[in-house]
Assembly symmetry: C2
Homo-oligomer: 242 residues x 2
DNA sequence: GCGGAGGCTGATTCTGGAATCAATGCGCGC
DNA sequence: GCGCGCATTGATTCCAGAATCAGCCTCCGC
């Protein structure tokens, strides 16, 4: 569809070319969709809401997306893709598993800080896909989990973690802890306007996962420091209860 | 609604009284709803499906439940209630926090073993709550989380866990790990027909949470071994998720 | 400036499915 | 046994909201 411009190599400098505009429109709609979905949920909103939010006509949404499902699908893809590749990058680093876990947690919380609406949609609508669900991103998610599982398996070979634990389950737990940590913010159990709280949360999620709540202090003997040990002043306070 | 019977104290022995029958019908519909919801998701099914599954007429569903939402609400309540009270019971036990955590994890996995359909609906549809959501179970969930948070706070006072961790976040993480552990079965990442796998999973979830993946093996030195291992036969069964 | 391709519009159509309701007959009290 | 009331039925109504479509109007190339 962007073919027109080619014939004339230049000409594309001043005002945006038609193709560019279209791309922008498409993006605007996508962004609006994220917005609306995060506010009212996929099933709780109508295409009209998305159109209004994006400031375009109802019908235009259908010009860019085959139907509502495809719109959701696209939202996922645009959000998921970046996230997945970053997580994958962390997984593939050649460092101690503890560092990789911290990296993964960091990526997740960072994404949240950057775009909590988007993350909310992913968390709330993903995974909960009705069983055989249309939107298959369950597949994408499964893939990361499997990647992480492989990471843990490798860590076992290296002797970084005990051999008797199940790598798959461990992987699943990691994302569960992350997801729930984020959910706490989304549901308001923790206060997301407190920027520091997000950092602290990320930190604690990683360290708890690595060392548990009992051993905490010493277990991270492994190498890098004790996490929170020094910044003990931080602790909880206003964050609970929304 | 059960008023008729009172005037005549007896008469209620042989065949079930009308009231009893009604209660049964209601339960049948509820069960059918769990079934259908778990298969196709709340939004993915029509009332007609529920009616058919329950073997009753379409309209009867509306005799017992005001509307579809209330039906879902009831499903939650019937499932949630039993679960919540059990978790609460574990929370209130006067033992080391490690034992309590193990207890909670056990309760969750046990519920799953007993009625994975019901648990699936809870996991998949809860949280879904469209923000200001009609169905407020977010509230119920939040309550357990707060209860658990209080438990951790108390544990800190007793010196059972480090003082610098955030009790609320810890509570949230616990349920996150549990939820994701179960989700793994629901999504098929782990095989739920392998009964032993469920036990192992429960065990690992608890131990990882307590001791982390690094220390794992030895950390449960804490004291008792898997508290629950033996008493699995205990409690009543069917009342939850009717 | 001219012609037309196609982005864009929103009223209109269409549909799935929620909720209603008048009719039926079973069961219970008298 | 009689009659009333309430559980039960499923066709009917009703509507939200998805998807369509016929035309408008902008912008592009010539």
């Amino acid at each position: 569809m962007a073919a027109r411009r080619e014939s004339n190599g230049k000409g594309s400098r001043a005002s945006k070319s038609r193709a560019e505009r279209e791309a922008e429109r498409r993006k605007a709609i996508l962004r609006a969709a994220v917005d609306v979905f995060s506010k009212k949920g996929y099933h709780g909103c109508r295409i009209a809401d998305v159109a209004r939010e994006a400031g375009v006509a109802y019908g235009l949404v259908y010009h860019y997306f085959k139907n509502k499902d495809e719109l959701l699908e696209s939202v996922f893809e645009s959000g998921w893709t970046g996230f997945l590749s970053r997580v994958q990058a962390e997984i593939e680093k050649d460092v101690h598993v503890a560092a990789r876990v911290r990296g993964i947690v960091h990526v997740a919380f960072d994404a949240y800080r950057r775009d909590h609406r988007g993350v909310k949609v992913l968390i709330l609508e993903v995974g909960r896909s009705p069983a055989g669900g249309a939107v298959n991103r369950g597949g994408a998610f499964t893939q990361v989990v499997l990647g992480a599982a492989e990471m843990f398996r490798e860590a076992q070979r290296r002797g970084e973690i005990p051999p008797q634990i199940d790598p798959s389950l461990t992987a699943v737990m990691l994302f569960g802890a992350i997801e729930m940590g984020l959910t706490a913010f989304i549901l308001g159990i923790l206060d997301r306007r407190d920027g520091a709280a997000i950092d602290r949360a990320a930190h604690q999620v990683a360290e708890t996962f690595l060392s548990g709540i009992l051993g905490s202090g010493q277990a991270l003997a492994v190498g890098e420091t004790h996490a929170w040990t020094e910044k003990s002043g931080t602790k909880s306070k206003q964050e609970q209860l929304g």
